[in-house]
């Protein structure tokens, strides 16, 4: 048999072997057998030295062609087999992706904290400072400097936990007004502050009363602050807490530390220019007014030059309204089933 025939036969046999390899191992064996150093092709080419010189180029070229072809075929087959292995592996690794993920352990801020923080962020954006005050307060700041002298009938509006004739659990965050006014240097600019915190009343706890609750006090004092500014500021608060399409209205009221004093209602429903007045459901959410001149004077601020507004709102009441919480005690008993419900950020 001639070398040429040997090569042709080798090629055909090798192609069959490559094609029939069903694993990478078999394919590798085929590669060694056909193309390896001790393989069939090498064996055939060893006979080249016995050929006449003029035949060698032709046979050499043929042998190269065969080697290239077989190498290509092996590579091709290898890719096929590798893909099959990969497919099998992926098939084996298939998961039920509808099973739940490993729960990340994540806690929640308290709903009252969420409301307070949202108000803080809003007022910080409007250039306010946040100022905290003591929870055990002096009668002087809680009442007297808020224009509620001893024996003032309006003291009956608040049942107070007294500690001694001079000390009490603060009944409101308003004393922070007096403390801040006393300290503020108006030559360095206007005073704009809010003061969130816990307050206490001598009340029997029930669904709508709590001996402990929260307030956020607000105070702005400068040379030309108007009641219109108060209205605009409170409108911005209502928009923040209830949404942009809610309106507010003011009603006359009484607080010893403001004059005029108003209650502020927020519309429970959205109000558009087409809404009829009688269709708006108003809910009372906060008290406000223009700072009483006595409060300014007692804190050493000249009420003929400076004036301002103050407001006080209750995060507890907001939360009850906003989420329909039916019992104020829920906020302080900390049932985890209650706490975990308020998990929507923003």
């Amino acid at each position: 048999m001639s070398l040429k025939e040997d090569l042709t036969q080798l090629r055909e046999q090798a192609l069959v072997r490559i094609d029939s390899a069903t694993s990478l191992k078999e394919l590798n064996e085929a590669r060694v057998k056909e193309l390896g150093k001790k393989g069939a092709l090498t064996e055939v080419l060893r006979g080249m030295k016995d050929l006449p010189a003029d035949e060698r180029p032709e046979i050499g070229a043929l042998a190269n062609d065969v080697r290239n072809e077989l190498t290509d075929e092996i590579n091709k087959r290898q890719t096929e087999l590798e893909n099959a292995v990969m497919d099998a592996q992926l098939q084996a690794e298939t998961l039920d992706v509808t099973l739940p993920g490993q729960p990340a352990i994540q806690g929640q801020p308290h709903v009252l904290q969420q409301i307070i923080e949202s108000l803080e962020d809003q007022f910080i954006g409007m250039g306010y400072q946040i100022i905290e005050g003591p929870e055990v307060e002096q009668d002087k700041y809680n009442f007297e400097m808020m224009n509620l002298p001893k024996d003032h009938p309006a003291r009956d509006m608040q049942d107070t936990f007294y500690i001694s004739p001079e000390l009490l659990m603060r009944t409101q965050t308003s004393p922070v007004q007096a403390r801040t006014l006393e300290q503020h240097d108006f030559s360095k600019g206007p005073l704009k502050m809010i003061s969130p915190g816990r307050v206490y009343r001598r009340d029997t706890d029930d669904a709508t009363h709590s001996h402990q609750f929260h307030q956020v006090e607000g105070l702005v004092v400068d040379k030309h602050i108007t009641m219109g500014d108060l209205k605009g500021t409170l409108l911005a608060v209502a928009h923040q807490l209830f949404g942009e399409d809610h309106d507010i209205r003011l009603r006359p009221s009484y607080f010893p530390f403001t004059e005029p004093s108003v209650e502020v209602d927020v519309s429970w429903n959205a109000v558009t220019p087409d809404t009829k007045p009688e269709d708006i459901e108003w809910i009372e959410v906060l008290g406000a007014g223009m700072v009483h001149p006595n409060v300014l004077e007692m804190a050493g601020v000249d009420s003929s030059v400076y004036g301002g507004f103050a407001f006080g709102l209750g995060p507890d009441r907001f939360a009850m309204l906003k989420y329909g919480v039916e019992d104020i005690r829920n906020f302080y008993l900390n049932d985890v089933r209650f706490l975990k419900q308020f998990d929507q950020k923003g």
């Binding site: 801020p109 704009k192 702005v220 400068d222 900390n334 985890v336």
Partner: protein, 807 residues
């Protein structure tokens, strides 16, 4: 205060429906908290005359009545009313009627006898028993003969009783005590409606007998700046006429007798409390205002014997305290059915004295309420005269000549100055001078105005107004708050930002939430026992409130852990066994009764039950010491202290597990502790195994912190070696790590415990601990020799110091 709209109509024409009037009052003056018609949904209730009463053949307590209800035939009704009698004018709820509680009346048979309706008492028509003139047990309502003469059988009884009136319930704020009277309310409503109120008028006829010959009075000005009396002689005390009773019960006041009813009517009309004494029951013909001596006893009109406190203001006669002045009358000189001669007292008592007595006696009456808040000083003697005239008219008596005045003063009307400019400056409006003048006019204020400068004279019935801000409020509310613009403050801008402390407290909360704890907000007031538990400062004492509402809320807390344990107990009692909570808030340490306490910011957390529930993928993860310690380590790492954080075992915290508790230090500063709550304490709170920590945030925020630092990463590979040693069980890992670090040389970068083992193959008093050591050098590749030398040094030191056995 209840306000009858029909009564208001006597002051001015009111065309508005009651709900619109209520809305205007709410938006302009005070909140209208309720609005109703006494008749509600009642119907078919008529006036009837009792034609005959015969016994029921089958009953010893029922009778059969025939009634004239204005129809062709008499109506037969069977009733059990004990007081029914022939000739009476009564109220009949006919067949098909609806009465007070929505009950429908149908014809039927009572023990075999037809009954075509029901005779009714006022209580059955929805009137409260405290307001109805007669007790329900006394039977059906019977009109008195004088009133009955004007009533036609078949007439609408609800209308006759005044139940068609609209009643507004006003929530009077303390500054608007002027509206605690119909006159005051009429002034206000007239201002709202732009009307002029017509105040009640009366005619007083006096006999020639001088009042001063019958009674004398004495009142010190510091207790009663105004005090006067009148006498009405030969009065017949009897029921008031229907119009007066109707007026009172619609205003929520119980009719009693003509004399008492007139004083109450004057209280409602003028806001001026009056009192009537039986002249003949006075110990002596003299009244004196004085303060009580401790221990004096007065039996008040409500039948209660009350001990006066020293300083309570009383009315005296002949050395005997008769009543608490301005608060409540006394039984011994009360006007009764037998009274013939009446002394009427009108006064202004010092508000503080009244407040004092009312609080002492816990008696907050219609009178005391008004004296405390102030009354119209020009109305006092007008009310006295009006009352005397009306009692004489209704009781057939005579008013004697003149008032006996013990104390009096003239009203000096204050003037308050204000300008149009100031008003607009405060309100942010452009109200014209003419508009402002019109508003003052509507309020019946006398004013002088020139170039927008007002001088306003305040009438006596608006004693709440004394400064310009008060006038601004009057203008604002009558101008209408809806008409104010909505603007934002202009002027110098101010930067708004959290202080560093506020930011760190906020970050602490967010850290703990990220680490899986839910924020709790608990009650600050607790029991004295709980208040001192878990205290970081064993010397601290809680702040105690004077009159607690309950034993559970008496003192301020000294730790947050007590609150959080209460919270866990609440959850566990509701079958919520897996609880992870934290709280950020203050604890309190008293500095004595009159000095403000220390308020210290704390941060605490608790875990109990499983921190991770069992699921398809992994087993449940129960809370344990090291879980919570990991949380705290991460929290503390977030602060970036300059100094190292250390955990030091503490076996002596009384509320904590002695073997599972560590004090936490930053450098040498103690900042808190962590551990398992002592099982005994857990049992006290009725909870299971709880792990907790508490940190003093105030101290933590004072510790120096570093900003995050950058170090280039070494180009040379790090080398890890393991070191396993056997030591006595009570040797603490932190000490071993300290020694390893001390002797590890500069290339030792990190030491991590990766195994702690006790049990098989380890002696009972020993433990095996394995550390992974990481060596790095930034300058060159580490050589085995150098590392081996370092490990040699460490093991030697460990052997020397801890008798460690290298494994």
């Amino acid at each position: 205060m209840k306000v009858s709209v029909n009564w208001l109509r006597e002051y001015m024409p009111i065309a508005l429906p009651a709900n619109e009037l209520a809305e205007k009052i709410s938006r302009t003056a005070v909140e209208v908290e309720g609005q109703y018609r006494p008749q509600g949904n009642m119907k078919n209730v008529v006036i009837a005359k009792v034609l005959s009463v015969v016994p029921h053949p089958d009953s010893d307590h029922l009778v059969i009545t025939q009634l004239d209800a204005g129809e062709d035939e008499p109506i037969q009704v069977v009733t059990g009313a004990p007081n029914v009698a022939e000739g009476q004018t009564v109220i009949l709820a006919k067949h098909g009627s609806v009465i007070g509680d929505g009950q429908k009346i149908r014809r039927g048979k009572l023990r075999g006898e037809k009954s075509n309706g029901m005779l009714s008492a006022l209580q059955e028509l929805g009137m409260d028993n405290s307001v109805a003139p007669k007790d329900f047990e006394e039977g059906i309502w019977v009109f008195n003969d004088t009133d009955a003469a004007d009533l036609k059988p078949g007439a609408d009884a609800l209308e006759v009783l005044g139940f068609g009136d609209d009643i507004l319930e006003l929530g009077i704020t303390p500054n608007r005590a002027d509206m605690l009277s119909m006159n005051g309310t009429a002034y206000e409503v007239a201002a709202i409606l732009n009307e002029r109120p017509e105040l009640p008028a009366f005619e007083l006829n006096e006999s020639s007998e001088a009042t001063a010959d019958l009674i004398q009075a004495e009142a010190p000005a510091d207790l009663a700046p105004k005090y006067g009396v009148r006498v009405v002689k030969d009065v017949h005390v009897q029921d008031s006429p229907l119009w007066l009773q109707r007026r009172l019960w619609n205003m929520g006041i119980r009719p009693i007798s003509n004399v008492v009813d007139v004083t109450n009517l004057m209280l409602l009309t003028y806001g001026q409390p009056l009192h009537a004494f039986d002249l003949d029951r006075l110990p002596a013909p003299k009244l004196q205002v004085r303060t009580a001596k401790a221990g004096e006893v007065i039996k008040t009109l409500d039948g209660v014997e009350r001990k006066a406190a020293e300083g309570d203001i009383v009315i005296d006669s002949d050395g005997q305290a008769l009543m608490f002045a301005g608060v409540m009358g006394g039984e011994s000189t009360e006007v009764t059915a037998d009274t013939q001669n009446v002394v009427l007292e009108a006064a202004i008592f010092e508000p503080k004295a009244i407040r004092h007595a009312a609080r002492d006696q816990n008696l907050h009456s219609e009178s005391s309420q008004r004296f405390e808040r102030g009354v119209d000083v020009e109305a006092t003697f007008k009310a006295l005269d009006h009352a005397a005239a009306m009692i004489a008219e209704l009781g057939g008596g005579t008013v004697t000549n003149g008032r006996v005045i013990a104390q009096d003063f003239d009203y000096e009307a204050p003037t308050v100055d204000i300008t149009t400019e100031k008003i607009n400056d405060v309100l942010g409006t452009d109200i014209t001078t003419a508009e402002i003048a019109a508003i003052f006019e509507r309020l019946c204020f006398t004013q002088m105005e020139q170039d927008g400068r007002f001088s306003v004279t305040i009438p006596s019935h608006r004693w709440d107004i004394s400064i310009p801000a008060d006038l601004i409020e009057e203008v604002a509310r009558l101008y209408g708050y809806d008409n104010l613009p909505a603007t934002l403050p202009t002027g110098e801008t101010t930067p708004g930002k959290l202080t560093e402390k506020q930011r760190l407290i906020r970050d602490s909360r967010h850290s703990l939430e990220g680490l899986g704890l839910n924020q709790a907000i608990s009650y600050v007031l607790t029991t004295p026992e709980k208040a001192t538990q878990f205290a970081m400062d064993p010397e601290a004492t809680p702040v105690e409130v004077d009159y607690p509402m309950s034993q559970d809320r008496r003192v301020t807390r000294g730790s947050l852990l007590t609150s959080l344990l209460d919270d866990i107990a609440y959850n566990v009692a509701r079958k919520q066994e897996d609880v992870s909570l934290y709280e950020q808030g203050r604890v309190f340490a008293s500095n004595g009764m009159s000095t403000m306490p220390d308020e210290i910011e704390h941060l605490a957390g608790v875990v109990t039950g499983d921190v991770r529930e069992r699921d398809w993928d992994q087993a449940a993860q129960p809370a344990d010491f090291f879980y919570l310690k990991g949380v705290v380590e991460q929290l503390l790492a977030d602060y970036g202290f300059v100094d190292n954080v250390r955990f030091v075992a503490n076996t002596d915290r009384p509320e904590m597990h002695p073997g599972q508790t560590a004090d936490i230090y930053v450098g040498d500063q103690f900042v808190g502790f962590i551990g398992q709550v002592h099982p005994r304490v857990a049992k006290f709170y009725k909870v299971g195994q709880v792990f907790g920590f508490e940190l003093n945030l105030t101290d933590i925020l004072r510790m120096p912190r570093v900003k995050s630092k950058y170090e280039p990463i070494s180009k040379f590979p790090s080398i890890k070696r393991d070191l396993a040693i056997l030591v006595d069980r009570d040797i603490q890992s932190a000490d071993l790590v300290d020694t390893i670090k001390q002797h590890g040389g500069t290339d030792l970068h990190d030491v991590t415990v990766f195994d702690v083992y006790t049990g098989d193959n380890v002696a009972a008093d020993k433990k095996s601990v394995a550390y992974s050591l990481t060596f790095v050098n930034r300058e060159h590749t580490l050589q085995d020799d150098a590392i081996n030398a370092a490990i040699e040094r460490m093991t030697k030191a460990l052997q020397d110091q801890f008798a460690a056995e290298i494994r």
